[in-house]
């Protein structure tokens, strides 16, 4: 665990730039517009984020056209995106797929794909979970078939983030050398992509059906440990996004509690509401500590990083969900309407919790790591 966990002036500048950008490109009207499309994001904004701001390649090494930044910068970026509820393939492509390529793929594929991702020319999806409902590495059952130099995949992959809009699909499947990473063309024969109507409209998910679909093996040797790290890095980044969402809920609830009058006084003057807000503050500050700890540990490659990532997933998932739930409650009837954006955060909160195995699973993983 790093000794110092504080942001520099440069980080705060990055935050200010991002917030200004997101105020423009991810205001509520834009979020509502994008979430109602099939693709789920604005390709022009995605290009702009890549080309003008270097965000798509934020953590991609410079040799592959990225910015070569680390997890502290990513922490700031994800927090702001979570706050703004940005509709974007950022998590699927710039975080999950980029990490899968950086940690599991051969150099040729890294060069080819990471360069495209960093340039904003490619959205990439990682196909990992299967209908058995498990998110741990052992739960992965799909086995690749080899005939000569050719590999094919058969079976189902579920909950694939941006699987519908991706220009490349990275598939985890087993071979004789263990867990392996495959590259599949989204238009490949034998691959059918089915959009899943999502709980959280701001992130699109697909189910992928493979039937002897041709695939290119792009890893060497067993990738179990590497992919475990990829998932942990992704949940660490996601935890920062969740914390940003929780902070938005807290601020929105407090603002409403100050201005909504009932029985002749602001509802925030009643302890029933005030104490809810105070508890949200405590939980959000704890979530911030957890997200910082995970991202700083990732940045400095600390020994306890995997433990911190589990901790952050659990703490931030619960904090965001509770904050969103209480924000609905504090808004009363209005909080239940489609008109107010609170439900969008509530849905994002639960979906983010469930996306890579829920908080209880991460606590179990933490317990195993600590030896409880």
């Amino acid at each position: 665990m790093p000794i110092e966990m504080s942001l520099t002036d440069e980080h705060e500048e990055l935050r200010a730039t991002l917030r200004a950008f997101l105020n423009e490109c991810s205001d509520e009207a834009t979020v509502r517009e994008q979430m109602s499309t099939e693709r789920g994001y604005d390709p022009d904004v995605w290009t702009q984020m890549a080309e003008q701001m270097g965000l798509a390649g934020l953590i991609i090494p410079e040799e592959f056209g990225g910015a070569g930044y680390g997890y502290v910068e990513l922490l700031v970026v994800m927090e702001e995106m979570g706050r703004a509820l940005l509709c974007s393939p950022y998590l699927s492509t710039a975080v999950l797929a980029a990490n899968a390529l950086m940690h599991c793929a051969d150099e040729k594929s890294q060069k080819e794909l990471l360069t495209e991702i960093a340039a904003g020319r490619m959205v990439a999806a990682v196909a990992h979970a299967e209908p058995n409902g498990r998110w741990d590495i052992e739960g992965l059952e799909m086995t690749a078939t080899r005939s000569g130099d050719q590999w094919t995949l058969s079976g189902e992959k579920t909950w694939v983030l941006d699987g519908g809009s991706a220009q490349v699909i990275l598939v985890l499947a087993r071979t004789d050398s263990g867990l392996s990473l495959f590259r599949v063309d989204p238009e490949a024969p034998g691959l059918r992509r089915e959009a899943v109507p999502p709980l959280d409209l701001t992130r699109k998910i697909s189910q992928l059906h493979f039937e002897d679909a041709p695939a290119e093996l792009i890893s060497a040797g067993d990738q179990s440990a590497n992919f475990e790290r990829v998932l942990a890095l992704t949940t660490a980044a996601l935890s920062a996004e969740q914390m940003g969402g929780a902070q938005w809920c807290l601020e929105t609830a407090v603002e409403y509690a100050k201005t909504r009058l009932q029985f002749g006084r602001p509802i925030g003057s009643y302890q029933a509401i005030k104490h809810k807000c105070a508890d949200m503050l405590v939980e959000t500050e704890f979530a911030r500590s957890a997200a910082y700890a995970a991202c700083f540990a990732a940045a400095e490659q600390e020994d306890d990083f995997l433990e911190m990532a589990d901790l952050a997933q659990s703490a931030c998932s619960e904090a965001f969900f509770h904050a969103a739930a209480e924000t609905i409650q504090i808004h009363g009837g209005m909080g239940f309407t489609w008109e107010l954006p609170v439900h969008l955060y509530f849905k994002r909160a639960k979906a983010s919790d469930l996306l890579f195995g829920d908080a209880a699973q991460h606590r179990e993983s933490l317990a195993n790591r600590v030896g409880l």
Partner: protein, 408 residues
């Protein structure tokens, strides 16, 4: 008066070595050594010269400690009974005391010769301390006090009490209070141990029956006791909400993990075991989050922009601690039906010899965590109003005479 020249670290260290030549902790008892330490201005170096200090910055106190530890295996640290006198009594005397009080009281506070206690809380004034109802009535050069104080740590050992009492019932509550130095040996002062949930008496009740206090022992002006009390309370807040263990899995968390690892195999069904394991993991996480939040608070303090992390710690720690020991008891299951330490009244803290004994004791003791030093409900009000900026509740006790405010 000439400005005191700021002293550099080396000069200060040399001064400490000079003290050690005159009196060495390894060959001098605590009181005698600390008397010498006071004379050399090395008691609290941030106090002015002549009052046990050298007018230096508070952080220079660490240098004194460091230099003494370099040359001595024995360190005469603050005697446990003197924590309140040194932490709260001395600053109040320095700020509001007369020259004579400073000269006579401060050396004995520091040396440990005279123990101090704080007489603020009353049975009818807990969270609302300013609503207290003990009453002092002027009688010539003296005041006659009647009332009852409670939760008074070390009162049974104390020479002096910091007494906050009402002197004007017709004024609004904050304006009718005065602050006195009470001679705890005076006739009419009766100290009784307060028998508590654990069987211990960490605190006392103090009964005041027609106790006479010379007017000269009033600190600050008549009716300005609340302001003096704030000085005391601000010095108290510094100590609470320390941010949990300093290292991972340390302190109380380590004790919970020991209880978990030593659990009786087979006592719980697999399903119960899984639920308990999740609760243990949550407690482990909670304590990690406390530790990380304290660490973040230190980092942002250093960067000069203190955030809400500090205010959050007191509330969180209290609730986390209670939950943690509840979990420990549930792990022990029916073995927790026995309370081996017993409830016979004792005025010293019990020292259970097993981790199970500690857990049983802490299960009871931790109930106070969300009450002492500000209840969790008051802490939530503070967070809501001072950190989040939510409006306060309408107050019916502010602008009216204290005597007209309803009381239980």
């Amino acid at each position: 008066m000439p400005e005191p020249t700021p002293m550099d670290e080396e000069t200060l260290r040399a001064r400490v070595r000079k003290l050690l030549e005159e009196a060495h902790p390894e060959t001098t008892d605590s009181i005698s050594f600390r008397q010498k330490q006071y004379e050399h201005g090395l008691a609290w170096v941030h106090f002015p010269e002549g009052y046990g200090g050298l007018g230096l910055s508070p952080k220079m106190n660490m240098i004194v400690f460091d230099e003494i530890s370099k040359h001595s295996k024995v360190i005469h640290t603050t005697p446990p009974a003197s924590v309140i006198g040194i932490g709260m009594g001395a600053p109040v005397v320095l700020t509001y005391g007369t020259e004579e009080m400073k000269k006579t009281l401060l050396p004995k506070i520091f040396s440990g010769e005279e123990v101090w206690c704080q007489l603020f809380s009353e049975p009818g004034a807990g969270s609302d301390v300013a609503g207290l109802s003990s009453l002092a009535i002027r009688d010539g050069d003296e005041w006659i006090v009647n009332g009852q104080k409670v939760w008074t740590t070390v009162a049974h050992l104390s020479r002096w009490g910091m007494l906050l009492t009402r002197t004007d019932p017709d004024a609004p509550k904050h304006d009718g209070l005065s602050y006195f130095l009470l001679d705890m040996k005076a006739p009419g002062v009766e100290v009784r141990p307060l028998y508590q949930i654990t069987g211990e008496a960490e605190f006392n009740e103090v009964f005041l029956n027609d106790v006479r206090i010379p007017h000269a022992r009033m600190l600050g002006q008549e009716g300005q006791g609340w302001r003096v009390a704030i000085t005391t309370l601000m010095n108290e807040r510094v100590a609470i909400g320390g941010g949990g263990s300093k290292r991972k899995g340390g302190g109380a968390t380590g004790q919970l993990l020991d209880v978990w690892r030593q659990r009786k195999k087979g006592a719980h069904s697999p399903a119960q075991e899984a639920m308990l394991r999740d609760r243990v993991t949550r407690s482990y996480m909670d304590n990690e989050l406390l530790r990380l939040t304290a660490q973040r608070a230190r980092a942002s303090q250093k960067a000069g922009n203190p955030g809400p992390e500090g205010s959050v710690a007191k509330l969180a720690q209290a609730e986390i601690n209670k939950r943690m020991w509840e979990t420990a008891i549930d792990i022990m299951g029916s073995d927790a039906l026995a309370f081996e330490a017993g409830y016979a009244l004792r005025q010293t803290a019990g020292a259970p010899d097993s981790v199970e004994g500690i857990a049983k004791y802490q299960f009871l003791r931790s109930r106070a965590n969300s009450i002492e030093g500000g209840t969790s409900e008051i802490m939530r009000n503070i967070l809501g109003e001072r950190v989040l900026g939510l409006p306060g509740e309408p107050r019916i006790d502010k602008e009216v005479p204290w005597k007209d405010v309803p009381r239980s």
